[in-house]
């Protein structure tokens, strides 16, 4: 693998994503405005200081329990803040995976299901969750992608799509498997840069961008 070429490409994209992020208006995000402003500030300050973006998220060796929910955890991770977790017993994905598959086959949203299992989003990177990761990646790059390409993001539930992208971004920060980073590259090129009108959690766009920056910085 020619890491130098990948690094240059990642650096180019990193700057583009930062630019896109910095142009976002926090006031368009309602109650999440302060969070959006904080992300802009964190990434803007890092760029101004020439400081590297903090990217160190390692693949989860332990299944962890966060004191909070998935969406709050995503906000914290995208602000690059530390977050206390406790090791917790691993619940095998079997039954969850079957439910996920059933919803996917029935073309139903998986937002609630994913948000419940990945209250601590780094658990998505836990080694035994490989089958789930492959399923989410496949869904993003096949059926979801085709629907967006044939119609627009309005053809999908924006929150459902953005949560998947956030989880994939978390894993992309922790893995050397380039397929996950490239799923983010692909959607960055595919989706509009502005918040989505149908979204209940429009800030998920911002946390996705912030985590994407973090993933890119681990290669740049």
């Amino acid at each position: 693998m020619n890491k130098d070429l990948i690094s240059k490409a990642a650096s180019r994209r990193l700057n583009e994503v930062r630019e896109r992020l910095i142009k976002l208006d926090p006031q368009r995000f309602g109650e999440a405005g302060p969070f959006v402003a904080s992300v802009k500030e964190t990434l803007g300050e890092a760029r101004a200081a020439g400081a590297p973006v903090r990217h160190a998220l390692s693949e989860s060796r332990d299944w962890a329990e966060a004191a909070t929910d998935c969406l709050t955890s995503l906000r914290m991770l995208s602000l690059q803040s530390d977050h206390a977790t406790q090791p917790a017993p691993y619940q095998p994905a079997g039954e969850f995976f079957n439910r996920l598959q059933a919803k996917i086959v029935a073309r139903q949203n998986v937002f609630e299901l994913l948000a419940e299992r990945y209250r601590w989003p780094l658990n998505f990177s836990f080694p035994a969750e490989g089958e789930v990761r492959e399923t989410v990646l496949m869904r993003l790059l096949t059926a979801d992608r085709v629907r967006v390409e044939k119609a627009s993001i309005d053809a999908l539930n924006a929150d459902d799509l953005l949560l998947k992208l956030n989880l994939v971004a978390v894993h992309a920060c922790a893995t050397t498997d380039l397929r996950f980073l490239d799923a983010l590259n692909y959607y960055y090129e595919l989706l509009p840069a502005t918040p989505y009108s149908e979204s209940q959690h429009p800030w998920l766009l911002v946390s996705w961008f912030a985590l994407y920056v973090r993933a890119l910085s681990s290669w740049s």
Partner: protein, 233 residues
Amino acid sequence: MRIGILANSLPAALSIYREAQELPGTEVHVLLAPVSGNSKLSVHVARFVAKSGRRQSLSLIGRRALVHFRKPFDHPETIARLKELRLDVGLHKSGNIYRRETIACFQHGILNAHIGILPGYRGRSVVEWSLVQGDPTGISVFFLDEGIDTGKRIVLSETVDVSHCRNVAEAKQYLFDLDATFYRRALALLQQQPAFRSNDGSGRRYYVMSKLFQEVAQENLELLRRSRIAPDL
């Protein structure tokens, strides 16, 4: 060995037909069906008259090697006729994904010439992904199942140098155009009853690639080209 080339158009099947029929002990048929909906033989005839390979196409019809189906390969009407043909091996050249019932119409199964090295590279954009990750490009001929490049029996898997190609699209076309040669070699191996290599699922499934990484693939190909032209640089 009775062989059937599964195709949606005559010109697509011709080069494979030419290669396969040169193998001793083979009887080759071109199986023509629409991707979806209905098809008329007259449409295919009109299409190939306008294209190159007309003489070969006429010769093929003259030899009664052409079997035309009105319905797609997975339609019950087509499956019933495929069974009657009692074919040993199918060669995939259509735009279809086959169901189990269609695959089962061929005694040994349906071969696919995949432009990637299996078991490592399944799915789409595998030429690009091989280039990005600095792995060899190549072709694998394997027996299809209902999944995406998951058929367990690999007949032939070989690296193919694409460093002479100017861009990734040209490299892919170069590999696609080798399908007839690789099918012929795979059929020759099958006649010798080989031990199959296992497509054991150890690789990864790949998907469409972003423009950003397509540029990286192109840059990697450029480097390969330069090192081929001037190995010391």
